[in-house]
Amino acid sequence: MHNCKATIDRVTELLLDRPEARPDDLLSKELVRCAECRNEFDALKETLRITNGVIEKIEPSQSYWNAYHARLKQQLESTTIHNLEPRERSWLARFFRSSIRVPVPVGLALLVLFTVAFLFATRESQREVEVSRTISVPVLFEVPVPQEKIVTRVVYRDRLVKRRDISTANSVMAKTQNEVRPTALVGFKPLDEVKLTVIKGGSPNEK
């Protein structure tokens, strides 16, 4: 069964290889059978023969080639001199000028890896800052400060009053002191221990 597409495909590749090529027996039979394929074969053959002929016909003169090779040799010699110079450079200059070839997938993978590592490191540092902020929040609490106040009170005692009366008088006095609290003692909280200094004497009636 003749297949025009397959035939033209074979014909084209045959002529691309060699424009003057002759089709083999099988291909010749196909071309004889189909006029369309035969026309295609002829057209392609002529197109490629003309094109190939012109491509091959380019022939610069011998003087052109002499000048061409002289220029090339001059450039090669200057390149050789230029190539020798960098060898005298210091190792530091060579270090900074050196490069390595890295395949694109490897380069991309490294780039992604560095980006992820950078983001991760940044996030971790932010978390640490948050923790330290929580710790540094000041908490206010009361610290008991010992207060001391010296109260001096003059007490006159009647020596003639009997002991029983003295205790009665003391209780009355205590009541009076509780009821009438001096303004100087407002806000004053006494300590657990009270220092009491009793000064005897000093009265003119004392004998």
Binding site: L16, R49, I55, I58, P60, H69, L72
Partner: protein
Amino acid sequence: MPDNENANSETDLIKRAQAQDTDAFCMLAERHARRIYLLAFHYCQNAQDAEDLSQEVWLKAYQALASFRSDSSFYTWLRRITINSFLNHQRTKSDRAQEPIDELESNSYLGPDETVYSNVLFRTVMEALADLTSSQRLMFLLRHYEGMSYEEIGNAMGCSPGTAKKSVWRALGKLRAKFEVGDEAAKEKITRLAAEY
């Protein structure tokens, strides 16, 4: 005589060139210069660019010669450098205006015995090649002129063999259209032109 042949064998020239012998390298260049120049000329469509580009190829080859390990032929290795140079040239000078074909003096490229008809044909083919994109032109030249397979072209140009084949076929289609090989009158013209060769 055999000693002289041995001294000038490609392997020996390569070894000497690897030892910074510029004369040996120039002898190597003389052997392959025309082929590289023709590729560059048809790729650039410009004589001055072709010379610059082909000289650049030789300089790069000389600098990289130490890395040549004889795994492939010297020309195959050189062609690889040529294609890379062409692709770099394409990237850097993509916006550079090409010299119009009319201003090309075909007599300076063709031999002195060529007829006026050949000059007309030369211009026609050059115009047809100029209508292709630089990639199509390069792939067409590599397939047709260099006889490379689509796999080799794909490897060299960083594309699949299928893409390379498609580009070559498109280039061929454009060339056919330019030569107007479809209609009968044009077919006669082409046959007449072909007969000239």
